[in-house]
């Protein structure tokens, strides 16, 4: 499933990905997403940072002298080379850009396990036996989802889905871009399994990764179906995937997520390919959709006698 790139190519495109971010002011993010500069990557992660991917680390001196010290000459040279080399370099730029795009997806429901790596402490578990971490995103605090690996994977896959829909609109290279995005996700997921959840056995990890791949394929079809058939079908798909068909779901939250997805897709529709290819994307937050969801529907005021519902499968009628 992983595409093979040699170590020196990985170093090249790691450097290239750091040079992609131009300096632009941060736009006001009241939209579901915005085109803005990606967060500058810190060259020295703190002692508790989890390793992000298995790409070999860049030489720190080079990383420090990153975006700020870029000369225009090198950018022009890179652009010239790209024109000459044509599509041969696309897979390498795709690898670097999708890493930044993936990080934007993964940060949405990010969580940490403070007990990881410390032998004496037991990680607290949820009712279903999953490791329970600590998270501060909208999805944890407002939505009430527990900061577990499965929550994180479902929310990340939802955001990856939105980007994949936009990738489909590339005239060429759609497969490459989607595949690289997926590869980053699986590398990172396996990393988290090892570091946060102490799954040293490769067999266990592979089993969960296979399950996640099946979830991803199912989610692609389900959300696509929802895109075509309307908000109710999309909401049902989100309910099955993110909420695991929970009976006590808050339907207002479900509607908020659907609204957020629609807004993000509309925004993605309007940006040119190059904006996405240079990873200048930042997602907004579903919390801005609360006011839209709270609007009173006209169907509430329809009298029951004049506009009854259809008979339910169980035979009950309104």
């Amino acid at each position: 499933m992983a595409s093979k790139t040699c170590a020196s190519c990985l170093r090249t495109l790691h450097r290239q990905s750091r040079s992609i971010t131009p300096r632009a002011s941060r736009l006001n993010t009241s939209r579901a997403f915005s085109s803005t500069v990606a967060r500058p990557l810190e060259p020295n992660p703190g002692p508790n940072a989890t390793p992000r991917t298995s790409i070999p680390p860049v030489d720190p001196a080079r990383a420090e002298g990153g975006p700020k010290a870029q000369t225009p000459v090198s950018i022009k040279a890179a652009a010239g080379l790209k024109k000459v080399a044509g599509r041969a370099t696309e897979t390498y730029t795709a690898y670097g850009s999708t890493e930044l795009l993936y990080k934007e997806c993964a940060v949405q429901a990010d969580y940490s396990i403070p007990q990881a790596g410390k032998d004496e402490q037991e990680t607290p578990k949820t009712e279903s036996g999953e490791d329970l971490g600590v998270g501060s995103g909208w999805w944890h605090t407002e939505l009430g989802l527990q900061p577990t690996f499965s929550t994180w994977s479902q929310v990340t896959m939802l955001h990856m889905y939105l980007i994949a829909v936009r990738f489909r609109c590339f005239p060429h290279g759609n497969q490459t871009w989607q595949q690289h995005l997926l590869d980053h996700f699986f590398y990172d997921a396996e990393n988290r399994m090892i570091v946060n959840h102490n799954m040293q056995a490769r067999g266990t990890r592979n089993k969960y990764l296979k399950d996640m791949f099946i979830q991803w394929r199912g989610l692609l079809a389900a959300y696509d179906e929802g895109l075509v058939k309307g908000d109710a079908v999309l909401a049902a798909a989100v309910w099955r995937n993110v909420f695991k068909a929970n009976e006590d779901v808050n339907i207002k939250d479900l509607a908020q997520i659907v609204s957020y997805m629609r807004r993000a897709l509309k925004g993605l529709d309007s940006i040119p390919d190059e904006t996405l290819m240079s990873a200048q994307l930042q997602f907004g937050s579903p919390k801005d959709e609360a006011s839209v969801v709270a609007l009173r529907s006209k169907m509430m005021d329809l009298p029951f006698e004049k506009a009854p519902g259809k008979p339910l499968p169980g035979g009950k009628k309104a």
Binding site: E247, I251, L254, A255, L268, V293, M300
Partner: protein, 130 residues
């Protein structure tokens, strides 16, 4: 069962929820029906000593439930896809313009396929001739 307005709204809203033929055992409207039966039946049959408290309890229930059913209505009337309409070519992607129409056709046909035609399709996907 209950004279609650919210309950009547629920029945009407859930009856209009689209049926999902691909996942017959996991339907949103069935699970929600179970939930409202549990909640409203419990509310109407619970013995509260204080009549005023019973009214207060059910008032809290009603407001929250009306909010929920309003959300169901908003999804049924496609409020969000109409508020954020796709104006560009997102739904006719350049890499495969018939992607979504093919998908819908496939999803419609899939539940009714026989075992044999599923095997034929599986092998058709595996061996592709240019």
């Amino acid at each position: 069962m209950s004279k609650s307005i919210a309950y009547k709204h629920y029945l009407r809203a859930l009856s209009r929820w689209p049926k999902d033929n691909l996942r017959p055992e996991c339907q949103f409207q069935d699970v929600m029906q179970r939930r409202i039966d549990r909640r409203f039946l419990l509310a109407s049959s619970s013995n509260t000593p204080n009549a005023a408290q019973a009214v207060a309890n059910s008032a809290i229930d009603e407001k929250v439930e009306l909010g929920q059913v309003n959300a169901i209505y908003s999804l049924l009337e496609n409020r969000y896809s109409r508020k954020y309409p796709i104006t560009g070519s997102l739904m006719q992607p350049a890499s495969n313009p018939t992607h979504y129409t093919d998908l819908v056709k496939e999803l419609e046909e899939a539940p009714d396929r026989s075992w044999f035609s599923r095997q034929v399709n599986k092998w058709k996907g595996f061996l592709r001739f240019q």
